[in-house]
């Protein structure tokens, strides 16, 4: 029994044709609008390494690699997604009144096709039921305030699936019952429907068919308007994901070799510094808006959001999309609305980011939240000069004395007193001490411990002494890209003149910036975090260290673990039994100090470091090991505030304490 007959004396396909033209037309018009909006963005050359991109597309899009990291919602989504890929051709078949299947019959593939479609509908159905269960019964915290839209759409999809089965079943019953074993679920439906009178059956099937088609058309119209735009947006997003190492930022201006233009040659007459307008973003930044599925995984892991600040990374992405949709017609005429992107994001939110990249790491569709915030910071600092007052001190101090505290540059090597360390001489390794390790009392002891261990193991190293300056990371993450570039150029000159290309540092921010960012400024170095070198020395028995006796937990620094990709070396170097916090390794939670946040004021009731200090404290460890000077400060302060007196120690300090005394 089929729905393909005349209705009110008119052939069925005329109705379908009108509806299809309407729905598809609206769909195409809206998608076109979005594409034109995204094309307003600036260039971002990502049309390279196609082989890698294609592979990533297969694993991340087709394979749902990051989606299924969430075991419940992720697999539910994957079932719906894979199911729809399998059943999608059925829409053509139903739209052509079965012509598609007739074609397949000729080449004898109709059976297997029917099976695939049937399983597809079943998978999608199971996925939808799981998703509905999650939304309506489990109701996780993050879904409590979302609109009912999500559930309605799921019900609509369920409608599409059930009606499809009814239509399938209708094919099998009627004048002559012929159960098609290639459609097992359809057969189940057919058996249930057996016994219904022919006229009723015909009505049910007709109704199902038209509900099915109306829902699909409605879905097409709805897709570009809601979060379901991700059905389209994720394709370019996944395909053109960032191939630079995580956390790397773009220079203000690059030459034809993609190297940073020297600060003296920057074309300030034509440069836009940072982002204030929609069109200041690159096309890839803009496409993020329409790729967002509002899954809120970024929100869940964001330290700023978790500590009650204005920033919610998901809101930033939705802001971008809503801004584009609301002002789209005006933007497409080349004009800009009065309200700027910075205003829409809200400066308070922009300054709350610790640039820990947890959001970027969590996003299943490769949305890049952090660059949106650091780009708007660039605008606020370099163009608008509207930024937290504390940062003015930071910038002045970096400019004058090349360290964030503004302490005399000539005292940078004072921590070495009595250690007999080579200063400014070539050696196998350069120990890049960093500002905290040079000037901050607590962290000086980390520099000393590291130096003593390196000497103990017979490593040939020197430091830059007064020639060393801050690597520029605080200035850069705070939006002062020009100051960063000046410091980067100076450091590259100094390190290159020394000629040492292997660098050891105890600061993950130096580790990241010198190792991954300086290349664009003419400095290509092999950079090691001290834990990597100490681990190597321990393995090679050049350092004889006993496993520590106390219970220790290790707090992964963002720029070493998640961003730097190194989570093993610090643990191996420490040895012994580490009690892990629930969030560790690449999923570690920021101490609150990154993104120059350590230099900014933080409301007493919204402190990130307290959250993390509690997590560390709850492990029952007797000592908290860190591998970053800012984590050292933030974790020590955090523990103090929550009234916990556990010591915070750097990896090198713990190793030095357990160094076997030579006999």
């Amino acid at each position: 029994m089929e729905p393909f007959h005349t209705y009110y004396g008119i052939e069925w396909y005329w109705f379908l044709l009108v509806w299809t033209i309407f729905a598809l037309g609206l769909h195409i018009y809206q998608v076109g609008f979005i594409v034109r909006l995204i094309k307003l963005g600036k260039e971002d050359h990502r049309f390279d390494s196609w082989k890698q991109r294609f592979k990533e597309f297969l694993t991340d899009w087709l394979g749902q690699r990051k989606v299924i990291e969430d075991k419940f919602a992720g697999y539910a989504h994957a079932l719906i997604f894979w199911g729809f890929l399998m059943l999608i051709t059925d829409v053509i078949d139903l739209g052509t009144g079965g012509l598609f299947e007739d074609l397949l019959t000729i080449i004898m593939l109709d059976g297997i096709w029917n099976l695939i479609v049937d399983i597809g509908y079943a998978m999608a159905g199971i996925g939808v039921l799981f998703a509905l269960y999650r939304r309506l019964v489990i109701r996780p915290e993050k879904l409590k305030n979302t609109s009912i839209e999500g559930s309605l759409i799921l019900l609509a999809i369920l409608g599409i699936i059930i009606t499809a089965f009814i239509i399938e079943a209708g094919n099998m019953i009627g004048d002559e019952n012929k159960l098609n074993q290639w459609e097992p679920i359809g057969v189940l439906f057919a058996k249930q429907m057996n016994g219904i009178s022919t006229s009723n059956l015909s009505t049910i099937i007709d109704l199902s068919y038209w509900i099915h088609m109306i829902l699909i058309g409605g879905f097409l119209i709805e897709i570009p308007q809601t979060k379901h735009s991700h059905l389209i947006g994720t394709v370019p997003n996944v395909m053109f994901q960032d191939h630079n190492p995580m956390g790397t930022m773009l220079p203000m201006q690059v030459d034809e070799n993609n190297m940073a233009v020297k600060s003296d040659d920057l074309d300030f007459d034509n440069l836009t510094l940072g982002v204030n307008k929609f069109t200041d973003f690159t096309w890839r930044q803009l496409s993020d808006g329409w790729a967002c599925t509002e899954c809120a995984r970024c929100q869940d892991v964001c330290p700023a959001y978790s500590s009650g600040k204005t920033l919610n990374p998901m809101q930033i992405i939705m802001d971008l999309k809503n801004y584009g949709s609301e002002h789209g017609s005006l933007l497409l005429t080349g004009k800009n609305p009065d309200e700027t992107i910075v205003e829409r994001f809200n400066p308070e939110a922009i300054w709350a980011c610790t640039t820990c990249y947890a959001c970027v790491n969590a996003c299943p569709v490769h949305i890049e939240h952090v660059p949106k915030l650091t780009d708007t910071r660039r605008h606020l600092v370099m163009e608008a000069t509207e930024f937290p007052e504390e940062l003015q001190n930071l910038f002045n101090n970096l400019e004058r004395n090349s360290n964030p505290w503004g302490l005399g540059a000539h005292t940078r090597a004072d921590w070495t007193e009595g250690l007999d360390i080579k200063i400014g001489e070539p050696a196998e390794y350069l120990f890049y001490v960093g500002c905290a390790g040079s000037f901050d009392e607590r962290n000086k002891s980390v520099s000393r411990a590291t130096a003593i261990l390196l000497k103990e193991a017979g490593v040939d190293f020197s430091i830059l002494g007064e020639m060393e300056t801050c690597n520029g990371d605080p200035a850069r993450r705070a939006g002062n890209e020009f100051l960063f570039q000046m410091m980067a150029e100076m450091n590259v000159d100094n390190i290159n003149s020394l000629g040492t290309l292997k660098v050891i540092t105890a600061c993950p921010h130096c580790f990241h910036t010198i190792g991954k960012e300086y290349e664009k400024y003419g400095g290509k170095y092999e950079v090691y975090h001290h834990s990597q070198i100490l681990n190597k020395l321990r393995k090679e028995k050049k350092l004889n260290i006993n496993d520590f006796e106390h219970k220790v937990t290790f707090h992964d620094p963002c720029y070493l673990g998640r961003i730097g990709g190194e989570t093993e070396a610090p643990r191996e170097a420490l040895g012994g039994n580490i009690i892990e916090m629930e969030r560790h390794g690449k999923n570690s939670f920021c101490c609150g100090g990154g993104g120059a946040r350590v230099w900014m004021e933080e409301d007493a009731d919204k402190r990130v470091n307290e959250i993390r200090a509690r997590e560390a404290s709850e492990t029952g460890a007797e000592c908290i090991a860190v591998g970053c000077p800012f984590c050292m400060t933030m974790m020590s302060d955090g523990l103090k505030t929550i009234g916990d007196e556990k010591p915070v120690k750097d990896i090198s300090e713990i190793l030095l304490e357990n160094l076997e005394v030579k006999t």
Binding site: L273, M382, T385, G408, H410, F482
Partner: protein, 253 residues
């Protein structure tokens, strides 16, 4: 309105202080704009923005240091021109001589208003400003915390012990600016870049010493002794120990 702002370049507060042969070792000093003078520049620019005119920065300095970057920043804030008078014999602690040399230049500028910082943070003499007013034969208000301009009338507020003094005067006048007179803006990067296109002139001058003061000796303050943390189980025990130390060791009780 024609405004002249005097800028003193002073050693960075974090400079290394060393005394060699009874003299301060200055060769490694880095120099910066005297912080009080920054208030003067900001105030001058605010007046210029309100009523129009020109802001000229005048500085007197040695001939062997590069100070362009710091002075360019002052242009970026909104000043129009920089004139640096250079002499190899310049010293920061000769207010009378410095005022005389500066007076010659400022006279040429026909300034309606001369602004400077209340004192240089190198020698803290607070003398050059008033001396310059004397040599220019114009009135002077020192240590101003708030300044207002109404046509040709200047209203200045001065913070005094327990109150505020309000002074009115006609221009031309020399005003020396106290801390926090106004908030110095942070120049936008584009303004810093554009500052390179504004006039920046170095002029060599003779340094003829006036009847001036002479430094005989300089010493560094005695090094601070280390602190002491008193250990103890209870606050009472710690207090007892403290009293004992104050009595027996410090002998202040």
């Amino acid at each position: 309105m024609n405004i002249a702002v005097l800028i003193k370049m002073v050693p960075d507060t974090e400079s290394k202080l060393e005394i060699v042969n009874g003299k301060l070792e200055e060769s490694n000093f880095k120099y910066m704009v005297n912080p009080y003078d920054e208030f003067a520049v900001e105030q001058a620019v605010q007046f210029k923005e309100a009523v129009g005119g020109k802001v000229t920065l005048v500085s007197l300095f040695t001939d062997n240091n590069t100070i362009d970057t710091d002075l360019r920043k002052m242009i970026a804030i909104g000043a129009d021109e920089v004139i640096v008078l250079r002499s190899k014999d310049y010293r920061g602690d000769k207010p009378s001589t410095n005022a005389e040399i500066l007076a010659k230049k400022v006279k040429e500028l026909n300034a309606d208003l001369v602004l400077c910082g209340v004192q240089g943070i190198d020698y803290y003499q607070a003398a050059t400003g008033p001396m310059l007013a004397q040599k220019l034969d114009i009135p002077n208000i020192s240590g101003v915390t708030k300044l207002e301009l109404n046509d040709n009338l200047i209203t200045a507020h001065r913070q005094m012990e327990g109150g505020i003094q309000v002074i009115e005067s006609q221009m031309p006048i020399l005003i020396s600016c106290q801390k926090d007179m106004t908030k110095v803006r942070f120049p936008a990067l584009k303004d810093i870049m554009m500052s390179k296109r504004k006039p920046f002139e170095n002029q060599t001058v003779d340094y003829e010493e006036e009847a001036d003061i002479k430094q005989i000796e300089c010493t560094l303050p005695p090094a601070r002794g280390g602190g002491m943390i008193i250990e103890g189980e209870t606050p009472e025990e710690k207090v007892d120990k403290l009293i004992n130390i104050l009595k027996m060791e410090a002998k202040v009780l």
